[in-house]
């Protein structure tokens, strides 16, 4: 039982880590209907930029600000070079473009900053302490707090602010949004910038776990089932989906894995997600596609 609990708890924490990555996706999807596969590459890029600056002797806070600015610059470039020429194109084309983009960003990240493994120490102890029979690390708690804060802030921003409404309006109907004076380029730049900064946060958390290196860009694949379950367009869904995926995946790995001689973590979350979709076709909190005839 204790073991079960422990697995569950550590799964939940792992889920929070997935959520951190998923949030960036949701942002862009919600505000532009683009399924941004380059999110992983952005994460890598942000984290690499950050450690490179830190290794050059920059203090953490400054490095964070500078990296954020770099991500904003990147957002502006992406809007200008990719999104604007592709506006009003079908979502699949945009998805493919973000795939192309991920090659470009990954390439640049490594071209500019090398392929070494960098150590990143955020100064948060990542050693387990026993709390009521289960091991928890301070790092997990802080990561969860970060994720929750991000989610809360972004959810409020999206639902309550003018900017949020404009973002959603653009995603719903770009032409109509333009017709009432919403400026698409501005909106896109903002969303991609915010997504870039979220990527930086996620990149730092993940990077301090596994070192900052190419593999960071692969965490996208972990975030996808989270998105499916939570709903592509729901920010709270990213958390809910993350927790669900994290917990069930951990349990499955422990209890099912041995039966099939191996770890099931590469696919389990996906199959779970498919099962989930059969019951709720737009995920837990996603907007159902509105189709009226």
């Amino acid at each position: 039982m204790a073991y079960f609990l422990e697995t569950l708890v550590s799964g939940l924490f792992a889920g929070v880590m997935y959520s951190l990555v998923a949030i960036g996706f949701v942002l862009i999807y919600k505000a532009s209907g683009v399924f941004n596969f380059a999110q992983g590459a952005m994460l890598l890029f942000a984290a690499l930029t950050f450690v490179t600056l830190v290794e050059k002797g920059m203090p953490f806070a400054l490095a964070f600000i500078v990296t954020s600015l770099v991500m904003v610059a990147m957002a502006i470039l992406i809007e200008w070079l990719v999104l604007r020429p592709l506006r009003n194109r079908d979502p699949l084309t945009l998805f493919m473009a973000t795939l192309g983009l991920s090659y470009v960003i990954e390439g640049f990240a490594q071209l500019l900053m090398g392929m070494d493994v960098h150590m990143l120490d955020l100064g948060i102890p990542d050693v387990a302490v026993q709390v009521g029979g289960i091991y928890v690390s301070q790092f997990d708690i802080i990561a969860s707090l970060i994720a929750l804060t991000l989610v809360a802030t972004l959810a409020i921003a999206f639902n309550k602010t003018r900017m949020g409404i404009s973002l959603r309006a653009v995603a719903a109907d770009t032409l109509a949004a333009q017709s009432i004076g919403i400026r698409l380029p501005v909106i896109w730049r903002i969303v991609w910038s915010v997504a870039g900064i979220v990527a930086l946060v996620a990149g730092l958390v993940w990077g301090s776990r596994q070192g900052v290196q190419y593999s960071l860009s692969l965490v996208t694949l972990k975030a996808l089932p989270v998105l499916i379950i939570g709903g592509f367009s729901s920010i709270p869904g990213a958390i809910a989906g993350g927790l669900l995926v994290g917990a069930t995946e951990a349990l499955a790995d422990i209890y099912v894995g041995p039966l099939v001689n191996g770890s099931v973590s590469t696919w389990f979350a996906y199959i779970l997600a498919v099962g989930f979709l059969l019951v709720r076709p737009a995920g837990l909190f996603g907007d159902r596609e509105i189709e009226r005839v």
Binding site: A172, D173, R183, I290
Partner: protein, 256 residues
């Protein structure tokens, strides 16, 4: 009238293309004077929508462009202004068909129209309430996602949203399409009120020529992308050819 006569919106010999090759508007010249309601009539595919989009700079997203001629808004070429700048300068278009933001609630849709002006919270709320007094039906549905409302309700949302920008010229594309007669009348009454009380001008594309000419001051008739006829509303209504073609046989035209 004399001051206002300096033209507000002026289109000169405009030609418009879609995707480099499809000629949608061949030669359109028209004028909207301040404080007037101008009707743009014509059959399906005559080029009404294209003309309106050319004015509001929304052809770009459809891969269309103005290839010849000019469009002047208060003496300034619109080509130099972005769609959003135009809105800020008082030109707003209500798109044909129900282009509302499906995933946003009715109220959010309406609110979104107010953002360009950057009003205060209180002002924004007051403006929304004003829209609700015109379209009480929308108030009932304020929390409903716009995509789930009926066709007519969506049309009202689109108009209400555009009015939120406090325009001085509204480009209204087929407002009557799919609306119940009572709503159509309401909408046209609202147009009249806005026009007379607040001096808002309208350029109105309509199939229902009969109705449009009843409210308009002036009319243009398009055929195959050309202006073939223009005149004051009374003149047009009086002409026999117009009667036959656009106002329909008397039996069908009169609602009762």
């Amino acid at each position: 009238m004399t001051v206002a006569a300096t033209s507000f919106l002026e289109i000169q010999n405009m030609e418009a293309l879609y995707g480099q090759a499809i000629l949608a508007v061949r030669d359109v010249s028209l004028k909207v004077e301040q404080g007037k309601i101008v009707a743009l009539l014509g059959a399906n595919g005559a080029g009404k929508t294209t003309t309106l989009k050319a004015v509001s700079n929304l052809l770009g997203p459809e891969r269309g462009k103005v290839s010849r001629g000019s469009i002047l808004w208060q003496g300034e070429p619109v080509s130099g202004l972005s769609a959003s700048r135009l809105v800020a300068r008082g030109v707003v278009q209500v798109l044909e068909g129900r282009h509302c933001f499906a995933q946003l609630t009715v109220e959010e849709n309406i609110l979104s129209g107010g953002f360009v002006r950057k009003p205060s919270r209180a002002d924004l709320q007051r403006d929304v309430e004003r829209i609700y007094t015109w379209f009480p039906r929308l108030k009932e549905k304020r929390k409903v996602k716009a995509g789930l409302t009926s066709g007519g309700e969506q049309q009202m949302v689109a108009i209400g949203r555009a009015l939120m920008t406090k325009p001085s010229l509204v480009l209204l594309d087929e407002p009557s399409m799919g609306l119940a007669p009572i709503i159509v009348q309401e909408i046209f009454e609202i147009i009249r009120v806005l026009n007379s009380e607040q001096g808002v001008s309208f350029l109105l594309a309509e199939q229902n020529a009969n109705l449009a000419l009843r409210y308009a001051d002036y009319g243009y008739i398009l055929e195959n992308g050309r202006v073939v006829l223009s005149g004051t509303a009374e003149e047009l209504r009086a002409r026999e050819d117009v009667q036959d073609f656009y106002l329909g046989g008397a039996d069908l035209a009169k609602p009762h």
